[in-house]
């Protein structure tokens, strides 16, 4: 600092406060942006999980609807001489259903699409003789989610623990 006309220029250093304030605001702004991004990504994940759950139960609703139709066919087929043939004939036009006869009973595999990659499969056994099964017309053997395989179909060669080639 220089003296001029006997007067000393006053004031402390200028700029230090501004630098600190600007640095603090930049840090706060970065934290705010990061918190927004975290909240949005969490919200997106929760929405996707909720949508998949709703789609899964939509598929299960379709499967239950097909089960109701098949049970109606089975109910109407009990009066005929050959239950399996009559049941398969009456249920033949139902989409998403695969029927196979097994010793007088009919096994039905009901398939309903969850999304473009997965579907739900319900396996049901319709009995030709309900009296042998406590009066029950059918039994749900199981449900599972099935992944729709791609068109390429090539599988990877996995080492089975045999000797390594030399």
């Amino acid at each position: 600092m220089s003296k001029k006309n006997g007067v000393r220029p006053g004031g402390a250093g200028i700029g230090y406060v501004s630098v600190i304030i600007i640095f603090a605001m930049v840090c706060l702004a970065v934290f705010a942006v990061m918190s927004i991004r975290a909240a949005q990504s969490g919200d997106g994940l929760n929405r996707r999980a909720g949508e998949y759950t709703a789609q899964y139960y939509e598929a299960e609703n379709k499967a239950n609807e097909l089960l109701a139709k098949l049970d109606e066919c089975a109910y109407n087929s009990f009066g005929s001489d050959f239950f399996a043939d009559s049941f398969i004939e009456s249920a033949a036009g139902t989409d998403g259903v695969t029927l196979t006869e097994e010793s007088g009973s009919v096994k039905a595999v009901i398939s309903a699409q969850i999304d473009e990659r997965q579907s739900i499969e319900m396996t049901v056994m319709f009995f030709g003789e309900p009296s042998l099964h406590g009066g029950a017309r059918f039994e749900v053997l199981g449900r599972r989610s099935v992944t729709v395989t791609g068109e390429s179909g090539d599988s990877l060669n996995i080492w089975n623990g045999s000797d390594l080639p030399q």
Partner: protein, 156 residues
């Protein structure tokens, strides 16, 4: 460096201290920017809370759907999920829940359900639609069903 001087009297000047002027301007800038940043933080917090409520609602809906699909009884399903005493708080077809989807009279989440029955020759296809809403806006909905045959089934 720029110096400001105030002319006090003829022939006499006094330099103005810029430090306090800078401090005032910096504090003004800090207060305005801080207000904006605090609003952003509050928005992120509300969004995170809503996401948490959505996650709990999804799990609750899934639990009710699994309990309902076994026998098609919505009252029984609510008893299984919330407990018999809590399920009794159901006002017709609505239930008030808190943010963790537990029954609470002062909660902000409302669960409403409606049942639809389709008659078939051999049984009933029962479907129930669950709707979770916060402040009147629908947050999540799910429809589940159960087929109840006449004469029953052997089960799974």
């Amino acid at each position: 460096m720029i110096y400001l001087k105030i002319k006090v009297s003829a022939g006499e000047t006094r330099p103005v201290n810029l430090f306090f002027i800078e401090l005032i301007i910096s504090l003004l800038f800090f207060s305005f920017s801080g207000a904006v940043v605090l609003r952003v933080f509050a928005y992120a917090d509300s969004k995170a809370r809503l996401g948490s409520v959505l996650e709990n609602a999804t799990l609750c809906a899934q639990s009710i759907a699994e309990a309902y699909s076994s026998d098609g009884d919505i009252g029984g399903a609510l008893s299984v999920v919330f407990g018999e005493e809590q399920a009794a708080y159901a006002d017709g077809s609505e239930l008030t829940l808190d943010n963790k989807c537990s029954v609470s009279e002062s909660g902000t989440v409302r669960l409403s359900y409606s049942e639809n029955i389709t008659e078939y020759a051999a049984g009933e296809l029962r479907a129930v639609t669950l709707r979770f809403s916060v402040s009147g806006e629908e947050l999540y909905s799910l429809t589940c069903s159960a087929y109840v045959p006449e004469g029953g089934a052997a089960g799974e």
